[in-house]
């Protein structure tokens, strides 16, 4: 109804949109859609509550884990190390996504395209080197790995201090990874 028409306006980018109804109709349409949305959700829930048989059982109240007994709570701390995957993904996926159209036009544009991408590549490469150097890409970052002196900076307090909080975070995560008690 009104909602569909407003979508049609948005799809039609010309200033003189295809929409011809009045504003009252538009507001009514949106209002009806909102009402219908509420009605569907709450009406369904209320109907179910009235109609369904009520036979409570502890097995039913448990979380459904494909038929297996649930092991612990789902509100556990996820391993912080997955951010490494996210970092690598951002660096290389953005690069790839922008390399694709560049590769398509490269044949026509030639030299300028090469230099334009060279600039972009530097923008990506320097932060990547920074991540690598700071150790954010290594999968295992135990506390004693933080103390290991790096190749380029002297083993001063600055380099170890800088990441100690992250190291603590990792050690906490490792401590959390003890096998949880199996609840039956």
């Amino acid at each position: 109804m009104g909602n569909m028409e407003s979508v049609a306006i948005l799809a039609n980018a010309a200033p003189s949109g295809a929409y011809s109804g009045t504003n009252l109709e538009l507001v009514l349409g949106i209002g009806l859609c909102i009402l219908a949305g509420f009605g569907l959700v709450f009406g369904g829930l209320t109907m179910g509550r009235l109609v369904r048989p009520k036979q409570p059982h502890p097995e039913k109240a448990a979380a459904y884990e494909c038929g297996e007994p649930a092991i612990g709570d789902s509100w556990v701390q996820f391993d912080l190390r997955f951010y490494t995957v996210a970092l690598v993904f951002i660096v290389f996926d953005v690069e790839l996504a922008l390399l694709w159209p560049w590769a398509v036009v490269f044949k026509d544009m030639g030299g300028p395209a090469f230099w334009a991408f060279a600039v972009f590549f530097v923008l990506i490469a320097i932060p990547f080197l920074y991540e690598w150097k700071s150790g954010y890409l290594s999968w295992v970052r135990s506390s004693d790995a933080q103390e290991r002196p790096s190749l380029l900076t002297p083993p001063s307090s600055t380099s170890s201090d800088s990441d100690s909080s992250i190291a603590d975070g990792v050690s906490n995560v490792v401590a959390d990874e003890k096998p949880a008690e199996v609840t039956t």
Partner: protein
Amino acid sequence: MALLGQTDLWAGIDVGEHLFLFSPMIVLVCTMLAVVACPIILGRGPRSIATVVWLGLGITLFMTFRVAGAVADGGVSGLSTQPGGMLIADNLSVGFQFLLLAFLAGVMLMWWMGSSATERNAPEFFILLLGSALGMVLMVSTTNLLMIVMAIELASLPSYAIVGFEKRNRVAAEASLKYMIFGAVCAAIMLYGASLLYGLVGSLDMAVIASYTIDNLSLGPNRVLLAVGLLCFLVGIAFKVSAVPFHFWCPDAFEGARIEVTTWLSVVSKGAGLLLLARLVTVFCAGGGADANPALSITFLTPLAWTIGIIAAVTCTVGNFAAYKQRSVKRMLAYSSIAHAGYMMMATAVFIHPSISGSTAGITALLTYVVIYLLMNLGAFGVTAMVVWDTGSDKIEAFTGLMRRSPWLAVPMVACLMSLVGMPPFAGFIGKWWILVALGRLQNTATSSGMFSLSTLGWLLMIVAVVNTFISLYYYLRIVVQMMFRDDGQRTVRTPIVGLAMVNGCAVALFALLIFAQPLKRTAERFTRNMYTASVEQDGKHKTLASAIQRGTP
């Protein structure tokens, strides 16, 4: 550069000239890259990295000076094949870059005094700081819908992170999370508004959207959708300015963040938002195109002027009343900055075209107020920072008897607070006065042109501004009383000499700006002269109405 100009993508654009016009931003990006490269090459020493940043800021300042010379006679838009251009280099954007660099230097000084000794993550801190600076510069340099959204996000995202920069500090983490969630919601609403506007108008150029608005806001068949789109888009700007329904992040973020970050956010972030709003207002006021009748155009924009005016009045009042019961000086200054955002937003509600009134009073008042506000806040936050560093408390009790303990801190604090109130011996007075004059001019011009709705708005805002000034007197004076007339025998505050020089310099500058008010205003007028552009030509040069503006004096 000539090589790039030969290809189709860059056809019709003098790439070399345009890259030169935006070189300050390019230098900022290069500085960020250099800071990222520092841990690879130089190590993570805070002071060495700060030196790199100082160097980058110096080069940026140099390039800004050169660009200022190039755009002095009129604005240039560029870096796009579209008529409107993606970015604009003109007097306003250059003027804001000067302000931003000056303020960045002040924030860097505060960081150097307060945090550099214990800083563990200096590269990250400066990347975030410079990233938000770049976003703010872009905010003031564009009238393109997409670019505005991107610039606001670029300014916001580093701000969220930099508020929660101290990972172990729970207050900071909470503030950062609140700021981020609030910002994400506002960005979503703004994007929705932007998509509605683009869907309706079919153009990203604000000048085209403005002319569509003038044709349709009062009479057109799509006026509800258009109004919703404009309102949603305004939400994003109101969030940056911390206008009232969107101000909840502000006190928490200001309290939780480090004080130099608070100083940074309180002035430049809001200044950028306000100048963006001012630029949009000027584009809308001139939006009817070169052949349109500006008076008629503005009549159709009256609802927009009322919206901005009401938001400004409410922001001002809520900020001042909420500041009353604060015990923390940082929080009180946060609410004070909300109130001042309200005052400055009033100046953007002055919807008059210079061809009617002969002046750019609103924008000129805004620009001078931003300059003065920068000095007042840098001084007030600087003194607060030094008290906090020494006593470890930002409660008002930490200021007890400061006049005896450290007169060199107390005197500039009194100057800055009185200037924030708008008391005569300081520049805050003249800033507020010019805003009132601009509102009076709005009222006057609107009455003589028969636009009585706008005339009422002018009266209303003038009354609200004056009443609010009286309200704000109380809570600023409370600190002054605490410093001058109470004493509990605490010891002298230990202060770095650079910090003393900075805050006293701010106080002296506030005093001097009152004496040299006319040059300040003339400069601001020169900077705002080219803003009311009737239309943007295909070759990228703005048509200006400079002759109409030079005629009168506000």
